[in-house]
């Protein structure tokens, strides 16, 4: 049977067919759907872990126990999980283990454009790289066989265009894999220096065996071409662009195993063509390998190190004519992403912006608080950095910043890596004010549960961490909960906690407006006779409010009925659809 399938769904199908039993991941675009889709198979236990390090260690535990396991993360998530990554390369596995990492060239939904292939080289782990959904499924099955054959976790690299593109997949059946008995083996599993020293040579020998595999495996395949004046080495989505531009014109060496790369196969391919080109997104990994082999190669001299590729970009770089097109229309206003109508974060950001508070931000939907007109957020780096860097900020500047600087972090991000930063504040004592924007879900990645929501990945009741109790138990005495729809309450809390001579945590709590169980309130409207055109409500940057014919106007299709705008109107211009003035 054939199905049109998202790359990420094809990965999940591969997990099912490969007999995988345990999956533990942390959501991150563009990797999230692999685990969500895997959860639809009863045979695979799937969970959201609090962060990627925990996810990887959980998957590793399951592999060591003897069942095939899986974990997935976005590229920056692999930074969080890098600690176990490097050492489980030494221990190897018991049952097969695959670590999926999804890069985001072009940064559709990421804070940097790192190339995860470096990790495979650094951790000395094999890495597979599919170019469409069918390969995603097939390579996953191969990855488990390789993991067990070579005694190593296998890295599986996706990118946005493979993860989030649909193509046709031929479905197969699940093969159950018997449990591999766990046998105590300190030399393999206890990585104290004496044992790790013995494991390192095994890792190096393994790489040599993997290179042999790379030479002969059809995963690195040569596709012949009619014109031998150039040969192209490529992989991942770049392969698809190359084929789109050139079809069968030039010979192509399509790399599926990106680490370790073959030697003889590449040398032979180079010898069969007049000129060698490497087409790869981001960093010159294949290219540098070719150069180290002494081959003359064109690559990053004509192709960019930044952003994602396309067929047009490759055509242009390799001297093909540009396609004719309609003319562009200049001067159109942009449409950047914005917080949704009814977003609970908006009220808190309005308060912070109004009071000109320095706001150290974090990773999530609420990063959009940095965008106009609120422009509330000053900084964003990585998961958890808001809290830890607030402590550093306040240590550096003392009271002058303590009274005017806050950290904002989401509920899921707080569980991911905010807690350790708060422990530092509680332990090393700054009078820091941390605002947990608790919208009761992991929002940006598309509504995943987390340890504070009380539900698991499948939506069934689960353990629930009480944020207030957790924060108090860490030694924070000043903890208060506010409703961000209530601007006066939120403002008072922020002002008081900034003045407090001890650390404090404000939990700004209201569920995401897009959650299915959150009831949308009736839309409201503006009475144009009362609207004095002061534009105070426009300062919220609500996509449902615009300024038309000299007055504020509410778009009823978009309005969520949160009424935050009405709190800003001194003239009582906001009304219910029945014409009743809204009072606060």
């Amino acid at each position: 049977m054939k199905e049109l399938m998202l790359g990420n769904k094809a990965v999940a199908r591969g997990l099912y067919e490969a007999g995988v039993c345990v999956a533990s991941s942390y959501p991150g675009t563009p990797s999230t759907e692999t685990t969500e889709e895997a959860a639809k198979f009863e045979e695979i236990y799937c969970e959201w872990a609090p962060n990627e390090k925990v996810a990887m260690e959980t998957a590793y535990g399951a592999s060591r126990a003897g069942k095939r396991s899986y974990c997935a993360m976005k590229h920056v998530g692999l930074n969080v999980a890098a600690d176990p990554l490097f050492t489980i390369s030494y221990t190897g596995v018991n049952a097969g283990m695959v670590i999926l990492v999804a890069d985001d060239p072009g940064m559709h939904s990421s804070q940097n454009e790192q190339d995860s292939r470096h990790y495979a080289i650094a951790a000395k782990m094999p890495m597979l790289e599919p170019s469409d959904s069918q390969e995603a499924k097939d390579f996953i099955k191969l990855a488990y066989d390789m993991s067990e054959q070579f005694d190593v976790p296998v890295l599986f690299k996706m990118c946005t265009r493979v993860a989030h593109s649909q193509s046709v997949v031929e479905l197969g059946e699940r093969t159950e894999v018997p449990v591999k008995e766990y046998v105590k083996d300190a030399g393999k599993y206890v990585m104290v220096p004496a044992n790790a020293k013995k494991r390192h040579p095994i890792v190096e020998e393994r790489t040599l065996k993997l290179i042999e595999f790379a030479e002969t495996s059809p995963i690195n395949r040569i596709e012949d071409g009619s014109d031998k004046s150039m040969g192209i080495i490529t992989s991942s989505t770049s392969y698809q662009y190359v084929k789109e531009v050139f079809g069968d014109k030039y010979p192509v060496l399509k790399i599926g195993l990106i680490n370790p790369l073959p030697v003889k196969k590449i040398k032979d391919f180079a010898a069969s063509v007049d000129k060698l080109a490497v087409v790869e997104e981001l960093d010159p990994i294949i290219e540098n390998h070719c150069k180290a082999l002494g081959l003359e190669v064109t690559g990053k001299d004509i192709l960019p190190l930044i952003d994602e590729f396309s067929q047009g970009l490759i055509a242009k770089a390799l001297g093909e004519p540009e396609a004719p097109s309609c003319k562009g229309i200049a001067g159109l206003p942009g449409r950047p992403p914005a917080m949704c109508a009814g977003c609970p974060h908006r009220g808190m950001f309005y308060v912070l912006s109004k009071n000109k508070i320095t706001v150290l931000g974090d990773i999530g939907c609420y990063t959009l608080g940095a965008t106009p007109p609120l422009c509330a957020i000053d900084t964003t780096e990585c998961m958890g950095a808001s809290i830890s860097s607030l402590h550093g900020f306040n240590k550096a500047l003392g009271a002058s910043s303590e009274k005017n600087t806050v950290a904002v972090i989401g509920d899921s991000t707080f569980m991911h890596s905010g807690m350790t930063g708060l422990a530092n504040i509680a332990y090393n004592q700054t009078n820091s004010t941390v605002i947990i924007l608790d919208n009761s879900i992991t929002g940006m990645t598309g509504h995943q549960q987390n340890p504070t929501t009380g539900f698991n990945l499948r939506g069934d009741p689960a353990g629930k961490i009480d944020l207030e109790a957790l924060v108090r138990s860490m030694g924070i005495n000043r903890v208060r909960v506010v409703d961000p729809y209530n601007l006066a309450e939120a403002e008072q809390a922020v002002k008081e906690e900034l003045q407090a001579e001890e650390p404090s945590v404000i939990i700004s709590r209201r569920p995401c407006a897009l959650l299915k169980n959150v009831k949308r309130q009736p839309a409201i409207k503006v009475n144009p006779d009362r609207c004095k055109s002061c534009k105070a409500c426009m300062k919220l940057g609500c996509p449902a409010i615009s300024f038309k014919d000299g007055h504020a106007k509410v778009d009823a299709t978009q309005c969520f009925g949160c009424k935050v705008c009405s709190e800003l109107c001194k003239f009582g211009a906001f009304e219910t659809m029945e014409g009743e003035t809204i009072k606060w």
Binding site: S167, V168, S325, C326, I329, P333, R335, P336
Partner: protein, 190 residues
């Protein structure tokens, strides 16, 4: 021969469902199909683009400048934004709905006027319909995407009405089926 269709609009307008319907209709017809979507941050009220390509053999899942045969747009400004992705003389099927982007709401820009004329001047054929009103007529303002797919179906002559209906039946939840079928019908006849 590969047909390349861009589906554009504002995050949350239902472009994923529209691309699913088109992708499935093409696959059921026996074509090779690739669909490329964008998830994550840009979905939050930003400009969103989905690519659908079908034909005997499709390699790239994305569409470049000058690569699109059709643009289906749920919002007028978004249709104009991507016009240079069209081949000369390519067809735009767009809703006449206008949604102010944040720079307009924030008062730093104005919503442009005369967009249909500008798109025609740029070399595109433009078929603009009031998809929002038709969707409301069908029973839900959210069905604009299906109204536009109905309109677009007129341009893809080798997929029959029965084939489109069959795909809609298998893609939308049963309780919204009648409403969506009506929306599609209103789009066809708009």
């Amino acid at each position: 021969m590969v047909t390349s269709v861009m589906i554009v609009g504002v995050g949350g307008q239902g472009s994923l469902l529209a691309s699913k319907i088109l992708g499935k209709a093409a696959m059921d017809k026996g074509y090779d199909v690739k669909v490329s979507e964008v998830h994550g941050m840009s979905q939050r009220g930003g400009s969103v683009v989905t690519y659908v390509r079908f034909g005997d053999k499709v390699n790239s899942p994305i569409i470049d400048k000058g690569g699109a045969d059709y643009i289906i747009s749920f919002e007028l400004l978004e249709a104009a934004r991507y016009v240079e992705f069209l081949k000369p003389g390519g067809q735009i099927v767009t809703s006449s709905q206008q949604i102010d982007p944040m720079p307009v709401i924030a008062g730093t820009a104005e919503y442009p006027t005369g967009l249909i004329e500008k798109m025609e001047e740029a070399g595109a054929k433009v078929d603009a319909i009031d998809a929002l009103s038709l969707a409301e007529q069908a029973g839900s303002s959210k069905a604009s995407n299906i109204v536009l797919m109905g309109r677009f179906s007129k341009y893809i002559t080798d997929i029959s009405r029965e084939e489109w209906d069959k795909v809609i039946e298998t893609t939308v939840p049963p309780k919204f089926l009648e409403m969506n079928k009506k929306a599609f019908e209103l789009g066809v006849n708009a």
